[in-house]
């Protein structure tokens, strides 16, 4: 499964049991490092019976630096279910079913996450089986080739969605060198050629499935010291690796770019206006200021949404995506336009909105509303242990610690209208812009 994590609002986290009167995140967590570099984060909650484990490996499509091997991080998400000598895939599946676990995995540009939700008495079984496959994954070349076909099947089931194609072309157009150029799924020719890369797959596993790239998050009806004992037992002797990934840097974009996708099935026209923006940071205002622009300028609450969607009814979907990333990535505004004749008008409206955010500070009352929105959105999404683990996993992928949630929330508290304007003026600029349109057969311009 491929996941693109939506913007997650942030909060403060109680650091190691310290009193936290103003905190919106009510859970105390333990963060511990094993001598081999493996990190363990345990978050006891008062949701009874259920435990969720989220195991984050800091490798995603970003790490696919070799030409012809895009899509490998995601392929590995699949291969990890192929089993070991001790727990062949049938035994792994049987055990997961016997314990009534819900288990799956997803891959993003920056990380791969394996998650399981189950009843608390089965924690030793789950940690044992997970440790075994992270350390002793074993698959034959024939099994590898079959699994590569399942990945092609996943590409196929996604391929009828024009939004996916549009996003693929936006990143391919905007980036020249950095691996964000390709999607998590990978380029189609690479996906089709995957079955021939068995040897490369072994190398990929050897590089990245190592304790120093891995963080185990355990959330639910648990005690931190019990979890630590189990993790020591099953994961303690896992060997640290030596590989250091060398991700190419993207040179600064010098001029605006544009592209077009001719979609062969009927669709409404879709457009993305994207800007190059910096990597996730909790040490200055950039990330939160751009989050604020995304929400205040393009969410359902925005003036542009009111104009284009509610009043003029020229657009049926409008929104901005500013997903946190390890490296500089894109701020994307996407609109689906009802009438092809309005494509240019809608683009101009989006550009005018961006310009107004560059030129004027936002209303302070709206910024306060945003702060409230972020805080409540964060609390509302934490409605069970699995959901809490998923939130923590997204931040762990960026900074390997939930502590970054504390910091980013502090940045929200400090955010001023002027800072929002500064970020818009600095990053949402013409030279860093890429516009891609997608139209169906009847809508050709």
């Amino acid at each position: 499964m491929i996941a693109k994590l939506a913007l997650i609002a942030c909060c403060t986290l109680a650091a190691f049991g310290a009193p936290a009167p103003q905190k919106v995140f009510p859970y105390h967590y333990a963060q511990e490092d094993l001598p081999n570099g493996l990190r363990l984060i345990t978050v006891p909650t008062d949701y009874p019976n259920i435990v969720a484990t989220y195991i984050v490996v800091q490798t995603g499509s970003r790490n696919e630096v070799e030409r012809g091997h895009t899509g490998f991080a995601h392929l590995f998400e699949h291969l990890m279910f192929r089993g070991t000598q001790r727990f062949p895939s049938t035994k792994y599946d049987e055990t997961m079913r016997r314990i009534g676990a819900s288990t799956n995995a997803f891959t993003t540009e920056d990380f791969t996450c394996f998650h399981t939700t189950f009843s608390k008495e089965d924690l030793p079984t789950v940690l044992d089986m997970e440790a075994d496959r992270f350390r002793n994954l074993k698959y034959t070349e024939a099994e590898f080739k079959t699994e590569a076909l399942a990945v092609l099947g996943e590409y196929n089931k996604n391929s009828s969605n024009p939004f996916r194609k549009l996003d693929e072309v936006v990143f391919d157009t905007a980036f020249d060198r950095h691996t964000y150029k390709h999607s998590v799924m990978g380029f189609l020719p690479d996906v089709q050629a995957m079955p021939n890369s068995y040897d490369y797959s072994l190398k990929f596993f050897d590089h990245y499935y190592r304790p120093e790239f891995t963080t185990i998050i355990v959330v639910g009806d648990v005690k931190a010291k019990d979890v630590r004992k189990l993790v020591d037992r099953y994961w303690g002797s896992w060997k640290r690796g030596t590989f250091k990934p060398d991700i190419p840097q993207e040179p600064a974009q010098q001029a605006p770019r544009a592209n077009h996708v001719a979609w062969t099935s009927p669709t409404l026209p879709i457009m993305t206006v994207a800007y190059k923006v910096p990597a996730y940071t909790d040490s200055n205002e950039d990330s939160v200021a751009l989050d604020a622009v995304a929400s205040l300028a393009f969410s359902r609450n925005s003036d542009l949404y009111r104009k284009l969607v509610i009043e003029e009814q020229k657009v049926d979907e409008l929104g901005a995506d500013h997903t946190d990333h390890v490296d500089p990535s894109l701020f994307e505004i996407t609109a689906r336009v009802k009438d092809p004749a309005d494509i240019d008008y809608v683009r101009d409206q989006i550009l005018a909105t961006v310009k107004s955010f560059r030129e004027k500070p936002v209303d302070a009352a709206r910024l306060d509303a945003l702060r409230k929105h972020q805080r409540y959105a964060f609390e509302l999404q934490m409605d069970d242990s699995g959901a809490i683990a998923e939130v923590v996993a997204a931040y762990v992928a960026l900074r390997r610690s939930p502590e970054t949630i504390n910091k980013i929330y502090d940045r929200y508290a400090e955010l001023t209208p002027q800072a929002v304007q500064r970020a818009a003026a600095k990053y949402l600029v013409e030279d860093g812009r890429t516009i891609v349109t997608l139209t169906g057969p009847e809508d050709a311009k």
Partner: protein
């Protein structure tokens, strides 16, 4: 954090307010979850106006109230990070939402006005209607071959009955529906008799009484019960091929079963389908045969209850309770050269299930799985509340308890008897979404073998089995296949 479920039907009290159907699940959570269900839906659409129930619900959830415009509602909800979501199915229309207890009064005030005092503005109606039409024209037909196959299957099986149209309606019907018809539908169907109020989380004790008093404003109404009408018998296996320009072929296959949640055979059949193809999990028979062993696609699953949007979620949405269900196979998109082999393999595996049933070991394992999986199913307040409402609708005990109790006494023989009685391999409806529909029709209706080749050596057991599968009868006659251009689906 969750307290014991208390589903209350306060029939003993003396006034109508107290008699309102309520599902409540109080807890210490800082969040409050609402599920307000009207036991009416697209089965109540007049035959000439499919989509009326859907448009009515969307006007409430995505439109203004008498006092506030839609934009004002969106703005008011923004700082609370809340919304109201509507789900419309055959017999249930659900409005759901969640708020932090800090904002309970403010949120409820908006929700109450949306449901009890709608604004009925013409510009909201135009937008909501266009959204529904574009959903059918673009999102369903164009963007999601798998959901399209599933909904065409349901439509085909239930044709001529109140279940015989997709809940969103058809493009031509939606275009004609007027705002007055929507208002009339609201006044007729949004009644106290059809209402179930659901509330979970950290709400104050008096809150539910306030809600009941407020919703007492609705007319009492006679209560909607859909006309009882079984789907027509399927005489021969038939197929609908939806012809569209797409990379691969997506299948949905099924037939009606007369088993719903309260029936004694429900849990035995649930065990059988979980064993055969538990949704989005590895280890099912179909998944293993098709994806794990042969790499044909991304996954293959089986169902005995309606499960829309399965590509986006791991657990089913509650409040899709129905009086009629089908047994359904979901075969995820396959490369066109393997389309015929894949269909044969699905039918071959189904035949094995019917012929051999479930082994004692698989039975025990699946039983244990479902008993524990019930905890996972109801792990959020919203899901637990949804299941409580469904149990109220079906007049069964709380679902988790119902499932566990029945599983505890279940025998393998009961499962195998249910398989033999309800699962079949003929008289099916097959829906395929793919390109070159006429070619696909020729292929699927010919008895020519469809040998399979692989990119890697396969164990002898698989190559031997493939020889049988390559010739497995599909049982589809050319006169029973309809090829429909995608533009005509849900038109």
């Amino acid at each position: 954090m969750k307290s014991l479920l208390s589903v209350l039907l306060l029939a003993a009290c003396t006034n109508a307010v107290a008699q309102m159907k309520v599902a409540e699940l109080p807890s210490k959570s800082p969040l409050v979850t609402f599920r307000i269900v009207f036991t009416t839906g697209s089965a109540a659409d007049p035959p000439e106006h499919p989509g009326l129930a859907y448009l009515t619900a969307m006007m409430l959830a995505d439109g203004g109230t008498r006092e506030m415009t839609y934009k004002q509602i969106v703005d008011a909800m923004y700082p609370m990070a809340t919304s109201v979501h509507a789900q419309v199915d055959k017999e249930m229309t659900t409005f759901s939402g969640e708020t932090h207890v800090d904002n309970l009064d403010a949120y409820y005030k908006l929700l109450r006005a949306m449901l009890l005092d709608p604004g009925w503005r013409a510009d909201d109606f135009k937008r909501v209607k266009e959204d529904a039409i574009n959903f059918l024209r673009v999102s369903l037909r164009g963007n999601n071959d798998e959901e399209l196959a599933k909904e065409v299957l349901y439509q085909n099986i239930y044709q001529g009955t109140p279940y015989g149209h997709y809940s969103v309606g058809t493009v031509s019907s939606l275009e004609k529906i007027t705002l007055q018809q929507v208002k009339d539908f609201y006044h007729q169907q949004y009644t106290q008799a059809n209402l179930i109020l659901g509330l979970a989380g950290g709400f104050p004790p008096a809150f539910l009484e306030t809600m009941k008093t407020d919703f007492h404003k609705l007319p009492e109404g006679p209560g909607f019960r859909p006309r009882a009408q079984n789907p027509a018998l399927i005489e021969h296996t038939r197929a609908v091929i939806v012809d569209k320009d797409t990379r691969s072929v997506a299948y949905s296959i099924g037939f009606p079963i007369s088993v719903t949640r309260p029936r004694n055979e429900f849990v035995p059949l649930l065990v059988a389908t979980s064993y055969f193809g538990q949704h989005r999990m590895s280890g099912g028979v179909l998944y293993d045969a098709m994806r794990e062993k042969r790499g044909l696609n991304y996954g293959d699953y089986a169902y005995i209850e309606y499960f829309p949007r399965g590509m986006f979620q791991f657990e089913p949405s509650p409040n899709l309770a129905r009086q009629y269900q089908i047994f359904q196979l979901w075969i995820r998109p396959v490369e066109p050269p393997t389309a015929k082999f894949t269909l044969r393999l699905a039918l071959y595996e189904l035949n094995k299930l019917v012929k051999n049933g479930i082994s004692e070991e698989d039975f025990e394992r699946t039983r244990e799985f479902l008993g524990k999986y019930a905890n996972v199913l109801e792990r959020t307040d919203s899901a637990a509340l949804g299941y409580a409402i469904d149990s109220l609708y079906y007049s069964i005990p709380p679902y988790k308890q119902y499932l566990k109790t029945r599983l505890a006494s279940l025998t393998r023989d009961e499962v195998n008897a249910a398989i033999r009685r309800y699962i079949r391999t003929d008289k099916l409806v097959i829906v395929a979404v793919g390109k070159d529909g006429e070619e696909l029709k020729k292929e699927l209706t010919s008895s020519d073998p469809s040998p399979m080749t692989y990119n890697s050596p396969k164990p002898a057991a698989i190559t031997e089995e493939d020889k049988t599968v390559a010739q497995w009868p599909i049982g589809l006659r050319a006169e029973d296949v309809t090829v429909v251009p995608v533009g005509q689906v849900f038109q």
